[in-house]
């Protein structure tokens, strides 16, 4: 496998390691993800799922190895380009990361505003996606007044509203009952069918077994397990 860009690869990691102090959170990860794939990242608690995602949207920098996202080498990207890289991703953060002093609407709209979208379009898109995730009745509420599951649905809405090329979903349904979870999952599958690349970190095996066309990447203490390595 070489680091040269492949026509269909949207994410390529080559021998990537991430160290915090002396502890390796990720060890020697080499993955190649095609545009439009639906990927599950599984592994026990602390296996490195979230860290892998953080490396992609540059919340953390790699300690060793190279990452290419849509042809860009993340190690060489200038800091003024970072926001544009991040707009390629729609991230559902494990801890939601909603802004507590902005309303649900403002939280979701922020993504489009940051991307200089027109006000009319912002309003339309935000209301539509909040309706879809079942949060249409709470658009003017502040996040601390929401239940855990409601917060997660807002986080999903924010990740998807910008129509990103890649969706990184870190435990996107863990705070949801099975009905709501299925709605969100169906929604992600819909994006996938439109060509979006989707990565889901989860330990809910039920979700995985319900999704036939997904590929599974398993991490054990920061390293890929045999199955995934073969891909």
């Amino acid at each position: 496998m070489s680091i040269i860009k492949d026509k269909n690869s949207i994410i390529r990691m080559f021998n990537v390691s991430k160290r915090f102090g002396k502890h390796y959170a990720l060890k020697n990860i080499t993955i190649d993800i095609q545009a439009g794939e639906f990927i599950f990242i599984t592994g026990a608690s602390g296996a490195g799922k979230s860290t892998l995602m953080k490396l992609l949207y540059l919340a953390e920098r790699t300690s060793e190895g190279q990452i290419l996202v849509d042809g860009m080498n993340l190690a060489r990207i200038s800091s003024s380009r970072v926001p544009y890289l991040r707009r390629k991703f729609g991230v559902i953060f494990q801890d939601f990361k909603l802004i507590p002093r902005k309303t649900v609407y403002e939280n979701v709209a922020l993504v489009l505003e940051a991307a200089n979208e027109k006000p009319g379009i912002i309003k339309e898109k935000v209301l539509k996606i909040l309706e879809t995730t079942g949060m249409g009745k709470k658009i003017n509420v502040l996040p601390p007044s929401l239940s855990g599951g409601e917060q997660q649905r807002v986080a999903v809405a924010r990740a998807l509203v910008g129509d990103p090329a890649i969706i990184l979903a870190d435990e996107p349904t863990c705070s949801l009952d099975s009905d709501s979870a299925q709605t969100i999952l169906d929604f992600l599958l819909e994006y996938h069918s439109r060509g979006t690349t989707v990565l889901i970190a989860t330990h809910n095996l039920q979700i995985i077994s319900n999704t036939v066309n997904g590929r599974c990447i398993s991490l054990v203490e920061g390293a890929l397990t045999g199955a995934a390595k073969l891909l």
């Binding site: 991230v91 953060f93 507590p100 002093r101 902005k102 922020l110 940051a114 991307a115």
Partner: protein, 293 residues
């Protein structure tokens, strides 16, 4: 731009606590600078009004007669910025001496001749308050024929003016120091309020906002806070001034003479501008720290 203003308004509304604290701090800082400026300005004015610029006595020789006065006045006027020239005839001078000596004045009547010379009291404009200028003028006046002697209290005046200039110098130094302190305190406060909002900034960056997008509302907020703080500070200063000056006028009616004045409008506008600048610069200094990549 309009969009940014909208965001600023919603930001201010959703962070009322942080905003009011920052504005209060700026107002208090401006109050410090303002109080000192007011104190200092008035002290200078009172000291100067006690002094009314330089003064000198010009003693004239026996060859002088009253007809020469207009010409002499003209000559002196030509030499420097005089405010007023008062002629004191030797007769007047003798009368004054007699008065001053009071009970011991009897010997004056025993004099055959008036021993005193005619004299001019020259009062210079207020802005003439440098020892050198006054000295220069004295030397020039002394060169005029008919003038026998010039007295201007060299030692006393020199000393007074040096103290006064020291006072002024220190005052300016302290004013600028206070302004610097105001800047640091404001920057610290703004830094704390960013610190309280760092999570929000971090989230915005993670969802792809550029630094400009994040920073601009903060700058606008800083400016507005500065202006609001400046106005509030001046307002409190004015109340303080009203309170103090009415107290002073009641208790020490003598000092109605030196009516204490508030800062001029020009000065006030400058202070508000400085305050706006303070808010802006405070933001600038604090944001640098929070936007390191």
């Amino acid at each position: 731009m309009l969009y940014y203003f909208k965001r600023v308004v919603s930001d201010i509304l959703s962070n009322k606590f942080l905003n009011s604290i920052t504005i209060a701090t700026i107002a208090l800082c401006i109050l410090v600078v303002g109080v000192f400026a007011l104190f200092f300005e008035n002290a200078c004015r009172i000291i100067q009004s006690g002094e009314q610029g330089g003064k000198m006595m010009v003693y004239l020789g026996p060859e002088f007669n009253i007809n020469m006065l207009p010409q002499l006045k003209f000559k002196i006027n030509a030499l420097g910025e005089t405010e007023k020239i008062i002629f004191i005839s030797k007769q007047d001078a003798l009368k004054q001496l007699k008065k001053d000596l009071a009970s011991r004045s009897s010997f004056i009547d025993s004099l055959k001749d008036n021993p005193l010379p005619d004299a001019l009291r020259v009062i210079m404009k207020k802005n003439v308050n440098k020892l050198e200028t006054i000295k220069d003028l004295a030397v020039k006046i002394k060169k005029i024929p008919m003038v026998e002697d010039v007295e201007y209290g060299e030692r006393w005046l020199g000393r007074f003016l040096s103290i006064f200039s020291l006072f002024k110098m220190t005052g300016y130094a302290i004013s600028s120091l206070f302004f610097m302190i105001a800047l640091f305190i404001t920057a610290n406060t703004i830094r704390l309020s960013f610190y309280a909002r760092r999570q929000e900034v971090e989230i915005m960056r993670l969802v792809g906002a550029t630094d400009k997008f994040i920073i601009t509302p903060f700058y606008i907020e800083g400016l507005l806070q500065g202006i609001a703080g400046g106005i509030a500070g001046l307002g409190i200063l004015f109340l303080f001034f009203l309170f103090l000056s009415s107290g002073v006028e009641k208790n020490i009616p003598l000092y109605m003479l030196f009516n204490i004045k508030f800062l001029s409008i020009k000065y006030s506008v400058i202070i508000i501008a400085c305050s706006a600048f303070l808010g802006w610069l405070g933001c600038y200094l604090s944001l640098k720290q929070f936007l390191k990549y």
